[in-house]
């Protein structure tokens, strides 16, 4: 069974990367939230597997934390927010989708070549997936840049955090518990604040297009 451990974790890493790509090409907000939820679930599975194979109970706690927060609570809250804001419309992207995807491929190549020398130094069983985790971070970062609506940007931020957690988990076999809790709390508070922001933006400008925030007005 231990022979399959790196392969299984790499499989989940690839799934997370695939979901990142699905997210940058997804136009609908509802589907976007569901994709984010599945990505969280893949992350949970990867944490549990890594915890099982390296005999680190810490990783189970981290997995449960991710599950409660990113598979259950945050998607539920986002669904509630878009229902309240009445924004189940199509998401527009700045570039057209093929261009975005091509840039995404470029980012993947960049992060893979960046991670190859680093992962050789790592003695973790899933060190190879550092490149994939890095690519997820870059892709979510790009999603935040290309999207003009507030909700997809928040999802991009959260998915970037998924990538970061995954990178930390695979390379170091889990961070200290206190750091995990800190990050979880940060994300929770971040999402709550961003939720409030969304309502504020909507109240001020009647839509969630954050380009409205670029114009300065004195009155």
């Amino acid at each position: 069974m231990i022979k399959f451990a790196p392969q299984l974790i790499n499989l989940f890493a690839t799934l997370i990367l695939l979901l990142s790509f699905a997210m940058i090409s997804q136009r609908r907000i509802v589907t976007l939230i569901n994709l984010f939820m599945i990505q969280g679930a893949a992350l949970v599975a990867a944490s549990f597997l890594l915890g099982y194979f390296t005999h680190q109970p810490d990783l189970y706690v981290s997995g449960v934390l991710t599950m409660v927060l990113k598979v259950i609570f945050i998607p539920w809250m986002l669904h509630r927010v878009i229902r309240k804001l009445n924004v189940r419309w199509d998401v527009e992207t700045l570039f057209n989708v093929p261009t975005t995807m091509l840039i995404g491929i470029g980012l993947v190549i960049f992060s893979f070549s960046l991670a190859l020398p680093i992962s050789r130094l790592s003695d973790s069983i899933a060190g190879g997936s550092l490149g994939i985790a890095l690519a997820c971070v870059f892709l979510s970062f790009m999603m935040m840049i290309t999207r003009s609506k507030a909700v997809p940007q928040v999802i991009g931020f959260l998915s970037m955090e998924n990538g970061l957690i995954f990178a930390a988990t695979t390379v170091t076999n889990g961070m200290p518990m206190i750091v995990e809790f800190g990050i979880a709390l940060d994300v929770l508070v971040g999402v709550l604040i961003l939720g409030v922001f969304m309502f504020q933006i909507r109240e001020k400008f009647d839509n969630l297009d954050i380009h409205n925030l670029e114009a300065l007005r004195e009155d």
């Binding site: 399959f4 499989l11 690839t14 695939l18 090409s25 190859l116």
Partner: protein, 316 residues
Amino acid sequence: MSILGVLSQLLALVLALLLAPLLTGWVNQWRARLQNKSAPGLLQPYRMLHKLFNKDSVMAEHASPLYRTAPYVIFSCMLLASAIIPTISTDLPLSPAADAIALVGLFGLARVFISLAAMDVGTAFGSMGARREMLVGFLAEPALLMVLFCASMITRSTSLTVIVETLAHRDLAIYPSMLLAGVAFTMVSLAENARVPVDNPETHLELTMIHESMILEYSARHLALLEWAASLKLFAYSCVGLALFFPWGVAEANSPLALFLALPVLIFKLAIGGFLLALIETLSAKMRIFRVPEFLGTAFLIAVIGLLVNVLLGVG
């Protein structure tokens, strides 16, 4: 070339010819069931072929010889394609003649001929369908090649039989890149076989159809050959998918017993594959034609990421 090799090659050809309409019938039956319609019989495609072969062919007045020969060329392309794909045995004498790249070339040749024939009689629908077919084709081909290269990178060969032998006999291993390749392959085969998100095989709404509009002018034996070729193409694609992603159960050289065991395994795998195809077709909605390049571009890029993941994880 052994006697057994020739025998298994012949068996593979006959199987492809016989099973292909059955697979189409199976998919159609499940599609109807999932959509709460009363399902046609499993043998409906055979009855259709029988009916068409017994009719008199009607030709357009200005049809050129190209129009007459195209169905035969397309049919033989598909037959040859199914001959080099390992379905029940990897001991195929024809297989060294054509590898995975040539297989894509064969599909390409058939596509060129069906498009030329569609434009030959000069009807509006034919030309429109041909143009759309080329649009779909030129995007699907590179994606299919990338999927095949993904498997080639793992097995270090472009020959389909070697790929199957290597994948089936190596210690069980999980290749993350094959997950990506599998997703890309599913998207490509939906597009290439005129299935729902891209094209509707049963539609008679002129503005949405691609494949049907190209064969609109054909009748009788020519139409029968084209229908049979379409079934063979679906069969060939399913078998490529099974060969790449579920290669277990295919018989090797010099084992006549395994040959008989391989047949039920193949039918079982095809039955599940056909059901899943019907499920995908029922669950998804037909997309606008201008979304198709995006869909296939995504398939291509996913396959490319599969290749990159191979490099990153140092497979092969």
